[in-house]
Symmetry: C2
Subunit: 151 residues, 2 copies
Amino acid sequence: MTGLPSDNHLPDNQVAAARARLAACFDVWSAGDFDLSLCPVRGVLDHLGDKWTTLIVIVLALRPHRFSEIRRAIPDISKRMLTQTLRDLERDGLIARRVFPTKPPSVEYSLTALGQSLLEPLTALVTWAEASRPAIEAARTAFETAEAAVP
Amino acid sequence: MTGLPSDNHLPDNQVAAARARLAACFDVWSAGDFDLSLCPVRGVLDHLGDKWTTLIVIVLALRPHRFSEIRRAIPDISKRMLTQTLRDLERDGLIARRVFPTKPPSVEYSLTALGQSLLEPLTALVTWAEASRPAIEAARTAFETAEAAVP
DNA sequence: AGACCTGGTCTATATATGAGACCTTGAGAG
DNA sequence: CTCTCAAGGTCTCATATATAGACCAGGTCT
């Protein structure tokens, strides 16, 4: 059984290490009756997939922003989603909310230390996404061509 | 204006580097009329937030799996979502689908080289999530306590 | 007074997900 | 020969969640 696709590419040390790490995590997660809500990644990655979360974290990584500044930085986010996403991030301790008693009151959002610690793995993912975009787009084109050929 | 929360924690070199990198990305993305669909990260991270995608990638990172093997590994996924998520991943070139002409036919899914290259940043994120879980849970508890105090 | 900022909420719809019936092909039970 | 089952799906319908868009409260400015 040497024909497995995964054998076609010798995984380098980092891939092997990643695999081992993920295997360990998976063992732990699936041990306890497999309650997926216990999976620590899910509780966090769910938010990262929330369409705006990543973008807001990136914006706040540049510098602290006020509510309306974020809206200007991300024009097509609705107020509702901005409020909700900020609330979620604040709830998780990733961002801090400071109210200034001006008239009208202004509110400044900024990354906490915990939020800043997310920048490293997030940047790794962003870098990967950028580097992989050509390959992914090529794969999509190929996939659509193939599926159009089999009507 | 030294009271910004972000000044409270001196970002180490890696955080600063991450910030600079994200700033560069953001500049590029927001340059072109801010069509978010152009943002390369979105097209990829959307999928990673898809609730099952990450888990399936992790399962396939361990070794190639057949359709039903994945179902057994992730008991509470429905066939519908498994099919759809696998299709999306295949479409993006992250996994390969191989049909064996047995009776009944069996189908094996495995990570491609591109999919394996995702393991590194994904593991970084998983590691971060595990390390940060206590802090996040503490923040959630504190947040709920605070909001319960202001009815 | 009337237009217009701030941050934020309420309602209505789009999208994602879940539950489960159905399909095709062949093997084995009766 | 018919019945049932299994793999690997697809299809339809119901619901859960995500998102958009109108609206609100209070203040400032003209």
